[in-house]
């Protein structure tokens, strides 16, 4: 009796072990294959990129430091001028920050409406949920540079094309993040408000917004950080602000490196500053949620 049960147990342990080992081997094989494909993709991708680049990777590697060194040494020679140059480019910096701030503001308002209209359980027109989601998907998919270039052609250079372009992208991106938060909102206050005869607008303003505001603010701050970078980079293709000044300073080449250095310093300082400020406030906003 005992022998039989023992034998049966040993047999099943053996089969379990062998099937487990087979599974482990198969998983390792798949894992190894995935890794191999990944490595092949990386290496061949690197080689293609290297081939199609004007200068090669290995020839350029030791030159990485040259340009920063040139800029820094020239800026150091003319260090007396730096405060003046920083003051000179400060208005451009303000423009870059303004572009980011306005587009975040407009984008957040747009994203707010898109998210509420696209959230299950909250939408004013439940049939149109899919449509509003597609709208925010498309707005998110269009890179800022596309809209910015088209608008620069129509409206002329300056901050407005960049502002509109970033705002459209922000509305789409925030619309998606906001609607994920809004779908998790407690519906009881909304129902309570509905029972008093509140309109859709009042239900959202009084029932949903107080719940989601900390998260929305935190996402908007993160977006503001991203948008500062975007507005600087769009300046480079002609949309005003610090990026535009940087392109002009770069076009002059040696002799104006002190100007480039001043712009680098301003941009770096701004990004780090807003990075720190926004991460501190975001922490405070999301910490408050647990209580």
């Amino acid at each position: 009796m005992a022998d039989i049960s023992l034998g049966g147990a040993a047999h099943s342990v053996g089969s379990i072990q062998s099937s487990y080992m087979a599974q482990v081997h198969r998983r390792r094989l798949y894992g190894g294959l995935t890794l191999l494909i990944f490595v092949v993709l990386m290496v061949s991708g690197f080689n293609i990129a290297d081939d199609r680049n004007a200068g090669g990777f290995w020839e350029g590697l030791h030159q990485i430091g040259d340009y920063p060194a040139d800029v820094l040494s020239e800026a150091w020679e003319k260090r007396a001028d730096l405060p003046g140059l920083i003051a000179k480019y400060f208005p451009a910096l303000v423009e870059t920050i303004n572009i980011a701030a306005v587009s975040t503001l407009i984008g957040a308002i747009g994203g707010l409406f898109l998210s509420l209209l696209g959230a299950r359980g909250l939408a004013k027109w439940p049939r149109l949920i899919a449509m509003f989601r597609r709208i925010s998907d498309i707005m998110r998919a269009v890179p800022e540079i596309v809209i910015a270039l088209v608008l620069i052609f129509v409206l002329g250079g300056g901050p407005v094309p960049a502002m509109i372009a970033i705002a459209i992208h922000t509305a789409g991106a925030l619309g998606k993040m906001f609607s994920e938060v809004a779908e998790n909102a407690d519906l009881k206050p909304v129902e309570g408000l509905a029972s008093t005869g509140a309109t859709w607008f009042q239900r959202m303003l009084l029932g949903v917004l107080p719940q989601v505001a900390p998260n929305y603010l935190s996402y908007s701050l993160l977006r503001f950080e991203i948008n500062i970078r975007a507005s600087a980079i769009l300046g480079f293709v002609g949309a005003g602000g610090l990026g535009y000044e940087l392109r002009n300073a770069m076009a002059w080449g040696p002799g104006r490196f002190d100007e480039a250095a001043a712009i680098f310093i301003l941009l770096f300082g701004t990004i780090v500053f807003f990075d720190q400020v926004s991460s501190r406030y975001r922490n405070r906003l999301t910490e408050g949620q647990g209580q």
Partner: protein, 437 residues
């Protein structure tokens, strides 16, 4: 509850309401004031003056239509026909569009009874319904015409140049040449250029019909002619999109590979030396703070323009971002699993492999895939600056201010590419770590 308590509560409640009211009106007021400031700082009122609505009209109409030029060189008398007036869109010798007829007198039928005739000796006749026949004679560098003194606004005329714009087409005349532009909807020669034998053949004929080009099979020939289409450059466009995706892929994955070991050095739990931790974090902050824009500029000096420069710029910037995110994920790792693995006698490397990595991989993969999609968009912009990928083609097409249908084509492709990457990264995330919802 005493009266004193009650009045205190009421006082507090009043204060709370006051504060709420202040916030309720204050925040919108601040936003409004800021927008007013922006209105003046960005000179929005002057925007109407700077905006060029003609550009908008050209953009809107040219992006879905094309024009065929019929050009007479008034010196040689030669007449040429070309799509968009480009050499690569020129009709081969002896061929011309069906709406042009006649030998001595070339008659161009623009449709809607608008007819232009190129007569011998550089004379031109233009028939427009509801307007007397216009006759123009080109001599040397000047023009003589029978146009009346007061002209409708769709005709502009001087003795050097006459321009007529009608809904059916446009005519410009100078001493040197006479040109007629006939507009058609659609993207011209999208499949085959005029010199390809497959131009004008239906899909059925190419797939199942007789062999058109004796030297090549129909399908291979058609694909090769389409791929090498000089007008739309499908091959270059495909390469450019590939380059953009490659930049995003190399940049994101390279950054993740570099950031992972560094993140261990920056996480409190795995790196006991405070100095090392702080130093690594400062490095992350630095490379993140020196934005992709500056990295692109700096790297372009060392490596020259191209996709590698863009990939490296993305790589360096994202190493900082990933390092920060990864080290935060590593700090939140559950100690119990590591202890469990340790109790089996695992060495430190094995503890990381079996105790830590399985916990953080889902978080890291989700972030990497999200960045892959977002970097496709960044790569478009960086490509425009550093000179690689579809971003460069788009900026070039915009700068020539001519081929708006190509601009429209690139925009559509970019949007499709980004949406594809969005879908793809979501799909991959679903496969690797399970659906989020």
């Amino acid at each position: 509850m005493t009266a004193a308590d009650l009045s205190l509560t009421k006082h507090n409640a009043d204060k709370l309401f006051q504060r709420k009211r202040l916030i309720g009106f204050g925040i919108p007021a601040v936003i409004f004031a800021y927008l007013v400031y922006i209105f003046f700082a960005f000179d929005i009122s002057g925007l109407a003056g700077r905006a060029n609505l003609d550009n908008a009209v050209t953009l809107a109409s040219d992006s879905w239509s094309h024009k065929v030029h019929v050009t007479r060189d008034n010196r040689s008398g030669e007449i040429s026909y070309a799509v968009e007036g480009e050499r690569k869109g020129r009709y081969p010798e002896g061929q011309r569009p069906g709406w042009v007829s006649g030998d001595e007198v070339t008659t161009i039928d623009l449709g809607g009874d608008h007819i232009v005739r190129y007569l011998p000796d550089n004379r031109t006749e233009i028939e427009i319904p509801g307007f007397p026949m216009i006759e123009v004679q080109a001599e040397g560098r000047s023009l003589t015409s029978n146009l009346p003194a007061d002209l409708p606004d769709w005709i502009s005329a001087s003795n050097r140049r006459i321009g007529i714009t009608t809904p059916e087409g446009r005519i410009t005349m100078t001493g040197a040449r006479t040109e007629v532009f006939n507009y058609f909807p659609g993207w011209e020669l999208f499949w085959f250029t005029l010199d390809s034998p497959y131009h004008g053949q239906g899909l059925g004929t190419i797939l199942f019909g007789e062999q058109i080009d004796p030297t090549r099979s129909n399908i291979a020939g058609a694909i090769s002619d389409w791929w090498n289409n000089a007008m739309w450059r499908h091959k270059d466009v495909a390469w450019a999109i590939g380059e953009t995706i490659l930049m995003a892929f190399l940049g994101t994955m390279g950054a993740a590979i570099i950031a992972l070991p560094l993140a261990f050095m920056a996480a409190k739990r795995f790196s006991p030396v405070m100095m090392l931790r702080a130093a690594t974090r400062r490095v992350f902050d630095f490379v993140r703070g020196v934005d992709a824009l500056i990295w692109t500029v700096v790297l372009a000096r060392a490596f020259g323009p191209g996709p590698l420069t863009g990939a490296l710029a993305i790589l360096i910037t994202d190493t900082g971002t990933f390092g920060k995110i990864f080290s935060e994920a590593l700090e939140n790792v559950d100690q119990k699993q590591i202890e469990g693995v340790e109790s089996t006698g695992a060495k430190p490397l094995q503890r990381y492999r079996f105790g830590v990595i399985p916990q953080v991989v889902p978080v890291l993969l989700a972030q990497i895939l999200y960045f892959l999609e977002s970097n496709t968009r960044s790569a478009t912009i960086i490509g425009a600056i550093t000179g690689g990928g579809i971003g460069l083609m788009l900026t070039q097409a915009m700068q020539t201010q001519k081929d708006w249908e190509e601009v429209a084509y690139y925009i559509v492709l970019i949007v499709v590419m980004v949406m594809f990457m969005d879908w793809f990264s979501g799909w991959l995330r679903g496969k690797l770590i399970g659906r989020k919802d």
